[in-house]
Structure formats: structure tokens, C-alpha cells
């Protein structure tokens, strides 16, 4: 009986440890996502009236599965090169996939004759300049980039 009780207690302790472990993992994951979000800023042309956008919708725009914003304006997303740190963060944060996987997606679009990849601009400054001068444009830049004159979108789940 005593053995059975100690086994029960052991199970309770194990369950508590498992719960704590899962909670820690969830918090760590959430913090990681938060950190990633803080490391990249989503910028749009100042005429864009949005203040936030869902990851799903932003992903569709950057994969050209949505060609316009909700108000009908043509969306003009711009990418950064595959080896850019901001690209890797954006890809994980918004698409939930690696840059390589997204590159493979674009190869499929090209060779099925459906579409071509986004314009790639070499760095934050060029992205900011492009977004500033093109209505409907959207890009991403590192957290430290100066975004005066542009609208920065919050990401919603």
C-alpha cells in the first residue's frame, strides 16, 4: 500500500514536472517569437491606412497569393537577398518556413509559368527608399532601421 502511495505521489510529481517543462518551453517559444518580431519591422507606404496585419495575410502577400490590399490597392512587396539576416527572421516569423523552403516555392512558381519572385533589394536602406516611393509597397527591415516617414505595421496572430 505504501509502495502504491509513493508511486502515486511520484506520478503527481512527474506530472507537475512535465507541466512546468511544457510551460517553460511555451514561454521560451513565445519569447523567441517576440524577440524575432522585435528584430524585424514591417514597413508600408505612408498612404497605407493599416496599423496591423495578420501573419497569414502578410505571408500571402509576400508569396503573391494575394495581389492587393484589402482596399484594392495593388500590393508591391519587396524582399531582401536570401543571405540577409532580416530575410531569415522574416521568413521564420511570417511564413513559418526557412528561406530555402521559400526559395524552392519560388522555383516552382517560375517553372510552372505562374509568377516570378519578388524584387530583391540589397539592404534596409534600399527597402526603405523603395517603400517610401511606391504606393502599395511593403517590406521588412531590421529593428534598428530608421523608419521615419513610413508606417510600421504590427503583426497580429
Amino acid at each position: 500500500m505504501a509502495d502504491r502511495k509513493s508511486l502515486g505521489e511520484l506520478l503527481v510529481v512527474r506530472r507537475a514536472q512535465w507541466t512546468l517543462f511544457c510551460l517553460a518551453l511555451a514561454l521560451a517559444g513565445g519569447q523567441g517569437r517576440l524577440a524575432a518580431a522585435q528584430e524585424v519591422q514591417i514597413v508600408v507606404h505612408p498612404s497605407n491606412e493599416l496599423t496591423s496585419i495578420s501573419r497569414e495575410e502578410l505571408s500571402k502577400i509576400f508569396l503573391k497569393r494575394l495581389g492587393t490590399w484589402a482596399d484594392g490597392e495593388i500590393a508591391r512587396p519587396v524582399d531582401q537577398p536570401p543571405d540577409a539576416a532580416a530575410r531569415a527572421r522574416f521568413s521564420r516569423l511570417v511564413h513559418g518556413r526557412s528561406v530555402v523552403t521559400i526559395e524552392v516555392y519560388w522555383r516552382r512558381m517560375i517553372f510552372s509559368g505562374r509568377d516570378v519572385p519578388l524584387i530583391e533589394l540589397q539592404d534596409d536602406d534600399r527597402v526603405l527608399e523603395y517603400v517610401r516611393t511606391h504606393p502599395g509597397a511593403v517590406g521588412y527591415v531590421s529593428a534598428s532601421a530608421q523608419t521615419e516617414g513610413l508606417r510600421v505595421l504590427a503583426l497580429a496572430d
Partner: protein, 398 residues
């Protein structure tokens, strides 16, 4: 893209291939960005070169002595006229050794030449020679960097025969509920295409000869239901056409139909795909079998495959595949032909970059393909034989 009677100068095409191979190899990680080219013109291409060898006879291009006559290349020019208009031309060359499903055609040909107009947010109209959305792989049949195996499954895509890779016609595509987690991609197309029709011949190397034919009045639809889970979609489609060729009875035209369903799971890491396709057609089996009498029959076949695998690291992927072709019982063919071809395969992929992929794959086939056993009479419908074969290939795209 390929026609039965086209056999131009091999030397010329080999030179062309070699030159482009060298160009692509030297180009390495060539990335043509908007800054390298005029804004509106973009150029893309892909190339695959393979070596294939079999344990017994010839099967799907693999030969007992080994062959490097398995390659394909394409160069695509896309001119974006405006935000909504584009013109696309793709030139392609393909060599499939002695694969009976892909009649020899070494020429450089116009693979696609179409004008595209985007209408509204999610609708596109294409006119010209355009690729056909049919199943998972039909639009990228020869793009080695996108395929887990050298061939797209023959049980479903059928080489060039009895299907449509491109049509000379028109297509329209639309995404319903594009902003929703669940959305539906719909494609419809109409047109005709050059193809071939096979006839049994004991004198022919393949046991079959390929004769020029023309498909007309092709009408097809393809639907994809995209799910909220990234990379998971369900598909289905239908294609019908009339075939005008040497086996077609006088004053009639073969009516063909094919249905298919698809499951596509591609998360970027995990891959699970399965497709099933059924064909039925009216044919003069007497003409097919080389008999003087006419035997009109509605007949058909079923093809299916499944693929499972994963990219275990960003560079290394392992994939397995099983496929099966079964012929429908009909009055002109022996019942034992029903189980015509089964193949189990494993493929190891090494991705140097997204645009440079090497593959080694091994296959075990139980098949009735005529050339699989060179010791038997080369006639259609011989006994089933077991053949082991392998393909090593290198694919690059830019």
C-alpha cells in the same frame, strides 16, 4: 513538346546541350536580379543530366549497358509588360534515351509561348501554347530541382502519351476566398496538342511504334483546396479530348477521358503525396494490335502512386515511392495484362543550394514493358519480369 517522328541532327543538339551545360555550370549561383536586367525582362532556366542503368533490359530510359542520354534543359524569358500583363516564352530540349513513354525528340522546341492577363485580384487568363495545371507535377515535369525523383511518376503523368503537358489554347485560373484560411484554386483550359499514338509491332525495337497524332478539343479542369495548414492541399481534376491518329477508326475520333485525385503534403521538411488517375477511351484495338480486323472497344487503365519522405537536414532528403499501373480488362488484351507495372523506389537527394540538387535513386520494377527483358520476343504484353535499375542525376536551375 515531343513528337514521335522528330529525329533531327543529334550532333547539333548535343553541341547545344553541351554549350548550355557549360554556361550553366560556369554561371554557378547565377541570380539575375532586377538590377542586372532591364526591369521588365527576366530570364530563368533549368538543366538536368542523368546516368541510368538497369539489371536486365531497357526501362524508362535506363539501359543494361548504362546511358547518359537522359537530359533536359529549358530557358524561359518572361516579359512583364505591366502589372497585369506578361508574355512568356520557354524553349526546351529533352532526351529520354529509349523510354517508350517519351517518343524520341531531340529538337529544341518552343515549349511555351503565351500571353497572360491578370484580371482583378486573383484571376489570370492565358492564351497561346501554355502548360497545363494537372496534378502536382504536370507543370514542372522536367524541373529536376523540384522533383524528389528523376521522373515524375509515370503511372500518373504517363510520359508524353495519353495526357496533356501543354495545350495550344486558352486557360483561366481563379482563387476563390483568397483571404480565407480555406481557399479554392480553380483552373480551366481548352485546346489541342501534338502527341503520339502507339501501335504494336514485332519488328519495332520497342515492340511498339509511336505514330504522330493530334489531340483536339481538349477540355480540362483542376481544383485545389488549400487548407489552413501550410503546405497541405487536396486536389482533383478532369480532362477530356478527341484523338485523331492512325489507330482511330475511319470517320470517327477517339474520345478520351481522365479523372484524377491528389493529396499533397509538403511542409518544406516532410513530404507525403499520393495521386490516382483513371483513363478511359474508345479505341480500335485491332489497329493497335496490328490486326486486319477492327475491334472497337471502350477500354482504359488506372495509375496511382504515393511518395513519402523528408528533408532530414537542409541539404539531405530521403524519399520513397511506390507506383502501379493496371490495365482495364477488355476483349482485345489478355487478362494477365491487368497488372501491367509496379515500381518501388528510394531516392537520396543532396541539395547543395535550392538551385543545385544531386540525386541517386534505385528502383525495383515488376513490369511488362516490352524492352525490360531483351531475351523475350519484343511484343506488347509479354510476361512480367523483375528489373532493378538506378538513376544518378544532377539538376541546376537559375
Amino acid at each position: 513538346m515531343r513528337k514521335g517522328s522528330t529525329v533531327p541532327s543529334l550532333a547539333r543538339c548535343r553541341n547545344f546541350t553541351s554549350a548550355l551545360c557549360a554556361l550553366l555550370w560556369v554561371s554557378g549561383p547565377l541570380q539575375l536580379s532586377a538590377e542586372d536586367l532591364p526591369d521588365k525582362l527576366r530570364i530563368f532556366g533549368h538543366l538536368t543530366q542523368a546516368y541510368a542503368e538497369s539489371s536486365l533490359g531497357s526501362i524508362l530510359g535506363a539501359t543494361k549497358s548504362g546511358t547518359t542520354e537522359l537530359n533536359s534543359l529549358a530557358v524561359q524569358f518572361r516579359w512583364s509588360i505591366s502589372d497585369r500583363d506578361a508574355a512568356v516564352i520557354q524553349l526546351a530540349h529533352e532526351n529520354r534515351s529509349n523510354d517508350i513513354f517519351s517518343p524520341i525528340g531531340h529538337d529544341v522546341e518552343v515549349d511555351w509561348a503565351f500571353y497572360e492577363r491578370r484580371i482583378g485580384r486573383t484571376t489570370a487568363l492565358k492564351v497561346g501554347r501554355l502548360n497545363v495545371p494537372l496534378g502536382i507535377y504536370n507543370e514542372v515535369l522536367d524541373v529536376g530541382t523540384l522533383l524528389p525523383f528523376f521522373h515524375a511518376p509515370i503511372s500518373f503523368y504517363s510520359g508524353v502519351l495519353n495526357t496533356a503537358e501543354t495545350v495550344d489554347g486558352i486557360s483561366i485560373s481563379h482563387i476563390f476566398a483568397a483571404r480565407s484560411d480555406w481557399n479554392l484554386e480553380a483552373h480551366a483550359y481548352y485546346g489541342g496538342w501534338d502527341t503520339a499514338q502507339q501501335r504494336v509491332s514485332s519488328d519495332a525495337e520497342f515492340g511498339l511504334v509511336n505514330l504522330d497524332a493530334r489531340a483536339e478539343d481538349g477540355v480540362g479542369v483542376q481544383l485545389w483546396l488549400n487548407t489552413p495548414t501550410h503546405g497541405v492541399r487536396l486536389g482533383g481534376g478532369y480532362l477530356t479530348w478527341r484523338l485523331d491518329g492512325p489507330n482511330t477508326p475511319p470517320n470517327t475520333r477517339d474520345d478520351w477521358e481522365s479523372y484524377h485525385v491528389s493529396l499533397d503534403v509538403d511542409t518544406g521538411k516532410w513530404l507525403a503525396r499520393a495521386e490516382w488517375r483513371d483513363w478511359s477511351f474508345e479505341q480500335d484495338l485491332g489497329a493497335f494490335l496490328g490486326l486486319s480486323e477492327s475491334i472497337l472497344a471502350r477500354t482504359g487503365r488506372t495509375g496511382r502512386y504515393c511518395q513519402l519522405g523528408a528533408w532530414f537536414t537542409p541539404r539531405i532528403g530521403l524519399f520513397g515511392q511506390f507506383e502501379d499501373i493496371s490495365l482495364r480488362d477488355d476483349p482485345g488484351l489478355q487478362p494477365q495484362l491487368r497488372d501491367f507495372h509496379q515500381d518501388a523506389a528510394l531516392s537520396a537527394n543532396y541539395r547543395f543550394r535550392p538551385d543545385l540538387v544531386a540525386k541517386v535513386e534505385v528502383h525495383r520494377s515488376e513490369t511488362r514493358f516490352p524492352l525490360a527483358d531483351p531475351s523475350r520476343p519484343q511484343t506488347f504484353g509479354g510476361p512480367e519480369v523483375g528489373v532493378d535499375w538506378l538513376i544518378a542525376s544532377l539538376s541546376v536551375s537559375f
